[in-house]
């Protein structure tokens, strides 16, 4: 395959960025999207140019490191996968592919296609945990039975990989899907009940402080989420928030 790549290049957080075109040849369908970028980077290095920096690590869709807005969509055209799982067989010979970083005020660009998603860490730090000591002196695991459906729903929410596609997909750059997934994981389990009120209030406060936008229910986040995190989580978080607010 012969392709034209239009890639966002930005030297560092302070520099002004721009789109740069790169022709590329010899791309095979079995290559992953990131392997295609590896090929480009090897060519750039050979020419003595700065390779394109992008975040990636596990390359099997679970660490949440890779990002990329590909032709306007987070993680590209396919559904329920991350960029590292996207394969070039989804593209055609002669295509032009536009590659940008995830765009949001709360995700400043670090370099080229790399953004700073530490805002997500700070939201988790505000309350995304159960305050139990890790001493091992807890009760036997089976003394807390959990309804299977609740456990399954909690698990489904907990599979969020924190990649930020929901924010990049949202016209408001809202982090509601991300935040609500964590709130839901605990809201659905007995272990999470004790701190439920503080958790949702603190996490939402931090989310707002980080400069993420509000949710206007467009549902783009759910469609682009590589893990299929459901919008129901946002509804659940709103209920949790409302009930926490009335408790004062």
């Amino acid at each position: 395959m012969k392709l034209t790549l239009k890639i966002w290049r930005q030297e560092n957080a302070k520099a002004t960025g721009k789109m740069v075109s790169y022709p590329i040849d010899g791309i095979e369908g079995d290559m992953s999207f990131l392997e295609m970028l590896d090929v480009l980077n090897e060519e750039l290095v050979a020419k003595g140019e700065d390779p394109v920096e992008f975040d990636h690590d596990c390359r099997e869709g679970i660490c949440g490191t890779c990002s990329l807005q590909i032709n306007g969509e987070p993680h590209g055209p396919d559904r329920l996968i991350t960029t590292c799982q996207l394969h070039m067989r989804k593209f055609n010979d002669g295509d032009t592919i536009v590659i940008e970083p995830f765009r949001a005020n709360a995700f400043p660009v670090v370099k080229d296609l790399i953004v700073d998603r530490s805002a997500f860490d700070r939201i988790q730090q505000a309350g995304g945990y159960v305050s139990v000591n890790t001493s091992g002196n807890t009760i036997d695991a089976n003394s807390i039975p959990v309804n299977k459906h609740d456990a399954d729903d909690s698990f489904a929410a907990a599979t969020c990989i924190g990649c930020g596609a929901c924010v990049a997909a949202c016209k408001n750059a809202s982090a509601m899907l991300f935040t609500s997934a964590k709130v839901s994981q605990y809201a659905l389990l007995p272990q999470g009940q004790v701190e439920a009120t503080d958790r949702v209030m603190n996490m939402v406060r931090q989310m707002d402080l980080e400069g993420f936008g509000n949710c206007t229910n467009t549902g783009a986040c759910e469609i682009e989420c590589p893990k299929g995190i459901s919008l129901e989580n946002i509804a659940r978080m709103n209920r949790e928030y409302l009930s926490a607010s009335t408790k004062g």
Binding site: R59, G61, C63, D121, Q124, G136, N142
Partner: protein, 667 residues
């Protein structure tokens, strides 16, 4: 030759850990506030240790190269975590988990460490459930289990195919609680470049801020290395792209012995390589071997026809298939340990029965599981005379609920639907049992420098059983280090803050800087990846699933030559004082080029086959590994002396008082 002091406590095996905990020194809460601990790596071992030590009151600094602690590669572990809870009532116990682990490791691990691991395993599950880790449950609300390779009980707890993710997010949440309290400072996108020793003790690290390129000095009273394994020395592995040996190797260069580097786990069920562009390999969880049956065609003609695309696997009848694991190992069948399953796949493929274009793949088939589950589901839902189509539909639903994410992952990568056609799999490098030598307290040969999780060598011997890596990481982090490190730190309560302007920090930082300058200013002929790929090829061909003396001797020479060429001719673009992925890779590959040679040297000296280390010269007539307990029942711990070829061997004899050494048999 010096004797390594393993510091195994006296007394009966089952009392050792309890007694040790009672005997060791504690640090009072007020003093803990004056003690700093550095933890490198935030996976299960590092994350768990950071959370627990911070909760105890120590000041913790964590370092990870990822942009968040949550992305450490523990996250990719799929199948599960072992614990001797015996919730299934199938005869499990601490002793049995201990026994299985020692046997699975081919009698090359340390009894006392393994028993402690088994002993705390149940606690891990309690802890994780209390944290809100959403494990799989049965309809009654209780925890579900499944089976893994090398054992005859169901002791594996799981969260679909994302167990590592859920456990890591649990540890990360515990870390977040401490970050929020100000007890952990987390340095992300930071790489440890070197270990700083003051008066022979580990007292800090030099780290590089990967965004600004700045070198930073961080001091502490103790340093924990929980930086994972070194599988990426093979270039292609199931490890994350960034996984590296830098922290452990730099500690090795400062005096920490490196143990059993040649013990590598080649995992039997990975997606086969498709071409030269391949950047990494993807694992298909061992849990799939619970239900998947592994086979190749019985007749070579069929294998050839399949390779040429003239036949489909589904066209072959039962009689035309060779379920070679079930044939060779009737009692364990498809659930033999990983090393055995990998070698058996290689044997069939080498004999010409491989099934993909390259001839390097075997089938993992779910057709019979789909039927079995379908019948069961039809029966329990009161469906007395289900049609074949209904059975298959119901069966697929059950299989999807168990392995859905793995099947999806497979389909995305290969463009084939594993519900309809058997998966193709082939072994790939997955885990390294070797690592920094540690004593019972997880301390390396450098006082104050500890190693936990995959970074140490202690628990898995020559082969790790499935679902035991998560167990070991969390055991080390939550339950072992917090005790043992206190014993060491109790002598440091009056030391006060370690200054970072000492000559030792100065000198180490300069060495780091010089090394970076050398990389930036080398000849500039070939990219870093060129060298990494060449190294990987040597490692896979000569130090992979089967090794022999001649190949290992060649590997040593070739790696040495490649390393010399690397330092002369590597090309690193960009600047050292900015984000620079090429420079990051170069530093890591430089270390792999040293480790690789030591790896081959270790494999060459071990004139026996055990676990993942298979020397072709040492095998039984049936092609099984032939151990030599008389001459090699020891841990090989290598001391750095400059060039890897000069490394000095130290032996820790392994003593088995509670287990009889036998030839491992899974027949």
């Amino acid at each position: 030759m010096s004797i390594l002091e393993s510091k195994i406590p006296e007394g009966p095996l089952k009392d050792k850990w309890t007694k040790h905990k009672n005997d060791i020194n504690l640090v009072n809460p007020a003093n803990k506030r004056n003690i700093d601990i550095i933890i490198v790596g935030t996976g299960l071992a590092g994350g768990a240790a950071a959370a627990t030590l911070a909760e105890l009151g120590y000041n913790v600094k964590t370092f990870c190269y990822q942009d968040s602690p949550r992305r450490a590669h523990s996250i990719a572990a799929q199948g599960g975590i072992n614990a001797s809870k015996n919730y299934q009532g199938d005869g499990d116990s601490d002793y049995r988990l201990f026994y299985d682990t020692v046997k699975g490791g081919d009698y090359r691990s340390r009894e006392a460490n393994v028993y402690r691991l088994a002993e705390v395993s149940g606690n891990i599950i309690d802890q994780c459930v209390a944290q809100g880790v959403p494990f799989a449950r049965e309809y009654g609300g209780y925890l579900d289990n499944r089976s893994f390779g090398g054992v005859l009980v169901s002791r594996t707890f799981y969260a679909k195919g994302q167990t590592g993710q859920q456990l890591l997010l649990g540890a990360y949440s515990a870390m977040n609680r401490q970050i929020n309290r100000g007890k952990i400072q987390s340095f992300n996108r930071h790489e440890m470049m070197d270990l700083v020793l003051v008066d022979g003790k580990a007292r800090g690290i030099i780290a590089r801020d990967m965004v600004t390129g700045e070198l930073e000095r961080h001091s502490a009273h103790a340093v924990v290395l929980a930086s994972g394994g070194y599988g990426n020395v093979f270039f292609l592995s199931t490890n994350a792209m960034g996984s590296n040996v830098m922290a452990a190797w730099r500690a090795h260069r400062r005096g920490a012995y490196f143990a059993n580097p040649c013990y590598t786990q080649i995992h039997p069920t990975c997606i086969p390589v498709t071409g030269d562009h391949q950047s990494k390999l993807t694992l298909m969880s061992e849990s799939l071997r619970n239900d998947g049956r592994i086979w190749v065609p019985k007749k070579k003609e069929d294998a050839i026809a399949i390779r040429e695309g003239k036949k489909k696997p589904t066209e072959l009848s039962e009689e035309e298939r060779d379920y070679y694991l079930e044939r060779r190992y009737p009692s364990f069948g498809n659930l033999v340990p990983r090393d055995v399953a990998s070698r058996a796949a290689k044997e069939r493929c080498d004999a010409g029965f491989g099934v993909n274009k390259t001839g390097q793949a075997v089938y993992l088939d779910f057709a019979s599981a789909i039927k079995r589950y379908g019948k069961e589901a039809a029966f329990t839902s009161g469906h007395k005379n289900p049609s074949e189509a209904e059975i298959i539909k119901l069966g697929k639903e059950v299989v999807e609920s168990k392995y859905g994410n793995l099947f999806q992952m497979y389909e995305k990568i290969t463009d084939q639907n594993p519900y309809e056609t058997p998966m193709m799999i082939y072994p790939a490098v997955h885990y390294t049992m070797g690592g920094l030598w540690v004593d019972y307290n997880l301390q390396t040969t450098i006082p104050g420098c500890y190693a936990a999780g995959e970074a140490n060598f202690s628990d898995h011997g020559a082969n790790r059983l499935g679902a035991s890596a998560l167990m070991q990481g969390l055991a080390d982090g939550y339950f072992v280090l917090p005790y043992t490190i206190g014993d060491y730190l109790s002598k440091d309560i009056r030391t006060g803050k370690i200054p970072t302007d000492s000559p030792e920090f100065e000198a180490t930082e300069k060495e780091v800087k010089d090394k970076i300058d050398r990389l930036m200013n080398a000849g500039g002929k070939h990219s870093v990846d060129t060298y990494h790929k060449k190294l990987g090829k040597i490692m896979w061909e000569k130090c992979g699933m089967a090794r022999n003396e001649q190949g290992l001797r060649e590997a040593i020479e070739e790696i040495k030559a490649l390393r010399e060429d690397f330092w002369k001719n590597v090309k690193v673009t960009g600047s050292a004082t900015a984000k620079n992925a090429e420079l990051e890779k170069a530093g890591r590959v430089a270390d792999f080029l040293e480790l690789g040679e030591l790896f081959a040297k270790d494999a060459l000296h071990r004139n026996e086959s055990c676990g993942g280390h298979f020397r072709e010269e040492y095998q039984t007539e049936e092609g099984e590994a032939l151990r030599d307990d008389e001459n090699f029942r020891y841990v090989a711990a290598w001391e750095y002396k400059g060039e890897p070829s000069d490394a000095a061997l130290h032996k820790e004899e392994l003593i088995f008082n509670n287990i009889e050494l036998k030839t491992r048999s899974y027949k």
